[in-house]
Symmetry: C2
Subunit: 159 residues, 2 copies
Amino acid sequence: MADAVLFEFLHTEMVAELWAPDPDPGSGGKRKSLSVLEGLGFRVGQALGERLPRETPAFREELDALKFLCRDLWAATFQKHADGLRTNHQGTYVLQDNSFPLLVTMGSGPQYLEEAPKFLAFTCGLLCGALHTLGFQSLVTASVASLPACKFQVVIQKS
Amino acid sequence: MADAVLFEFLHTEMVAELWAPDPDPGSGGKRKSLSVLEGLGFRVGQALGERLPRETPAFREELDALKFLCRDLWAATFQKHADGLRTNHQGTYVLQDNSFPLLVTMGSGPQYLEEAPKFLAFTCGLLCGALHTLGFQSLVTASVASLPACKFQVVIQKS
């Protein structure tokens, strides 16, 4: 399915573009690129969040919103579901993907681990933006222990 | 279909990001942003060109390659076919789309016309990149007479 790979190709090229040699090395390039990707993801997540759950009742419970991310948002973005969702029942959730599509194209040796954050920033923003549309403020971070598996930790901010 | 809108949302946000107030107004921002979008499109088009025609025999004729863009590349990217293809049989082709998805979200009054190029640059690159993979060097430009219709002119470069 070519339209599935379109997003992945575009994501790859956005990352490459943002990591192209920085003409202004004094501008904190790396951190800025990560936050640009995260911001793009956030706004796309907001828009997807508005679009996706049209037939779904409002998400009153956090857990429903998180299940929605694992199923519907993952399906819309990666054509599969996330592999696992765990929670401490105190507002912290961990989404697990055992073969994260945006990491699959990288090599899988430990020497690639330090390259991983730039392939995860967009999705961190995406999750945070979708949750924002669903009425939840959150902090989302990602971690990789063994490529191409990764975890997204979502901490819901109580108002 | 949410995965169809994913590309459109992402494209919209890329354009917005590239047109965010330029911190360095002396750097020819507009032209640079257009060429960044076109470059992204080119590399995505190259990759799609490799991926799409796996079951298709090689494109020996230009016209076959152009028909492929109008049908398969358009379907993969915009979930529809282009509305028309004309040629002067001397290496110049015009692809017509009467309701181009990346222009549909804009307003349609004539006052928006000058905004159109930034929503067309990525697709110009996409066409050029896909043709490059198929073995044809080309120049691709876009024009809009009446939103949201547009035309892409492809001039094949003879070697």
